[in-house]
Amino acid sequence: MTTNQQSQAAIALTDTIRLELPATYKYLNILGNCLSSMVESVDGLGEPKITSYNVQLAVHEACTNIIQHAYTHNPENERISISLALYQNPRRLQIDLLDSGQPFDITSVKEPDLLAGQIHGYGLFLIKNLMDEVDYTRLPEGNHWRLVKNL
């Protein structure tokens, strides 16, 4: 390794995990375990347990939304592709989710009125509040969600 760029490429390649799961609740805890192992492998985090919990919860919400809203019929025959990548400078964890379900209509969403006690609408609220970056892109092959947490 001679330049900074080379070493960054090596890190990106080394610290990427890909996971492909059935779109069911059953295996979401596996994803949670992967995320917590990844977060807790990072040295010098201020609050590793809290960070790990928050990342797990945000990604869990993104996946339950895919199961409930993108795959409205037979989610159990559908799948979610996930990539977890740890980057340096600045240090961050990037989670990419791909599904082949229905597109997401961002205009369908409004901020929940928390003090009124909502029954719906906590999912996206949590994702946005627990992560530092949340992007949605509709691709020809499906939906792409990107969640980033600065570490």
């Binding site: 805890n29 797990q56 339950t64 928390l114 003090l115 006690g117 949590l126």
Partner: protein, 112 residues
Amino acid sequence: MDIMIKEYAIRYIAICLHGRVDASTISPLRAQVDQLLNEGVHFFVLDLSEVTFLDSTGLALLIYLLKRSQQVGGDVKMVFPIDEATRRLLQLTRFDRVFEVVESVDLALSSF
């Protein structure tokens, strides 16, 4: 002199949850909550002290219980989780404002 003594009882139920309360584990809790509401119970204490993970599905069920109880003149009090990350989640979503938070199930019952 006529003396008439009447005795009343208000049913209150403490629901103590443990571990993960999320989309993958919610079904039995939802069924239990519906059954209690249909039986006419409307005073509840939610004991979340041992809860270690709570998602939007879990949050929604807690709010559902609150709304249905309040519709019939009841109320739901909440014992906060010990787990710090779950506590913060309940603060972020303002559940500490929407529910009356109590120290323990015993204290909650004596304050209804």
